[in-house]
């Protein structure tokens, strides 16, 4: 079976999404997200930015309409049918997400070893390189409960980058760190952005300095709608 399928196009066709307590948070969105750019999701608080990212990241299924990847309606796909796309579609949480009964290293290695994307030795070398770069080599064998919240979040972001997705969805990735770690993460993301292994980034952040780092365009989510504003954010 094909392990990973490159995302060549991604968009929505009359997509709506709602929760039990709020029926239509996103309403009738038709949108094609141009690839090869960074997109900063903006909008008033409570208008569904995180929900939009969850749908975009394949975590929440639209209640109606379709999410189209490479022209295929992935909304109707089973978990296994969607898997090749999912491995090219990274998603990072605002908080949480690490398996609490696994060490940081085991958490990072899990997707690689589970999908046999590399050998255990290669995974270990990759984790070591990340840990050295971000200065947590002495903590890799600790479980998440024994490290700081900032390090937990950093590992969660790095775990997503481990399987090298070309389309990256990040929910407030730069908050919760000290300035030095946040800068190191931005620098690394810029490197992989310029190298081209991450081709498209969609993210939220409250700090506009990070938006300008990636010369991100604006993807506005407001009143249940989402639309693109091509001009670069401030």
């Amino acid at each position: 079976m094909e392990r990973k399928r490159k995302i060549e196009s991604l968009g929505f066709d009359r997509m709506s999404f709602g929760y039990e307590w709020r029926k239509e948070l996103l309403h009738d969105i038709t949108l094609q997200i141009p690839l090869g750019k960074a997109w900063h999701v903006e909008g008033p608080s409570g208008h569904g930015q995180t929900t939009f990212l969850r749908v975009l990241g394949g975590l929440s299924t639209p209640t109606s309409g379709a999410m189209l990847i490479n022209g295929e309606n992935v909304t109707e796909m089973s978990f296994d049918e969607f898997l090749p796309y999912r491995l090219d579609l990274g998603y990072t949480f605002q908080s949480g997400g690490l398996l609490s009964n696994r060490t940081l290293a085991e958490n990072m290695a899990l997707p690689l070893l589970y999908h046999k994307l590399c050998s255990p030795e290669e995974a270990e070398a990759k984790i070591r390189a990340y840990a050295e770069r971000f200065g947590f080599l002495n903590m890799v064998d600790q479980r998440p409960a024994f490290v700081s919240a900032g390090l937990r979040k950093l590992v969660s972001v790095l775990r997503t980058l481990m399987f090298e997705p070309s389309f990256l969805v990040m929910d407030d990735p730069f908050s919760g760190f000290d300035q030095q770690t946040a800068q190191a993460l931005v620098k690394y993301l810029r490197e992989i952005w310029e190298d081209g292994f991450v081709k498209t980034m969609v993210f939220t952040t409250a700090d506009n300095t990070y938006v300008s780092e990636f010369q991100a365009s604006i993807l506005r989510v407001e009143n249940g709608k989402a639309y693109l504003e091509e001009k670069a954010a401030a």
């Binding site: 978990f79 491995l87 949480g96 398996l99 609490s100 070893l113 589970y114 999908h115 046999k116």
Partner: protein, 274 residues
Amino acid sequence: MSFLLRQADHVGARVFDFFAYVRTLFFMVYLSLRSGLLEQTQGMRQVVSVISAQIYFTGWQGLPLISILALATGGIAIIQSSTQLSLLGGSSMVGNILVLVIVREVGPLLTALMVIARSGTAVASELGTMRVNREIEALEIMGIQPLSYIVFPRLVGGVISVVCLSFYFNLVALLGGFFVSKALHGMQLSFYFESLANAFAVEDVWLFLVKSVFSGLIIFVLGCYQGMSVQHSSHEVPQVTARAVVHSIFAVTGFNLIVSLLSYLNQLVRLGII
């Protein structure tokens, strides 16, 4: 009249809810076995590590408690049966009574109840907490099917543990009980084993296996289902844990009762009584 109709409507709705619940549980078992066995093209090594962890927590760490429970049950059963039988002059029947009481009934049932208390609660609360901490969603975004990585290993590890613990319970209860009985009544080992050997039948093994395997399955399916049903916040975790325990006790006890009843009816049919 309208009161009666409302009551009938209420009962009918509860019956439909019950069947929908049972159907969902069967569907969950089917999907997790399918994703665990048939579609498991990758990650088997990771899944096996979760199975062994489950066997360690449920089986291995449950041994001290099971030992005490088995010794006490075996001791009581043997003392009571041998005392009553020797009064009636039927000491050679001690094996029959022990096989009936310990191997067929008490062993699988008490083991299952102990596993509900230790592991059913643990699985429900662990999975509930994983939901709250977004660990299940994290697995999904890593392309790891939670049914194959979370549910399937717990079902397999749980069933293996319950079968092994039930076997261990019977062994300790029969052997330990003998030592208690020897100390009190001076019963001979050869007499005891001969009585047991004469009492054992193939049907006992089948009954033991059916009860243990399905009790294990019931406990871990309910634990996993209730744990996975947590939606948003941590206050749901104790609620689903309590629900998993209550439902498991009802289901396991009911299942054991039905199997015993069917076996009894089968014996009556064989003897030509019905």
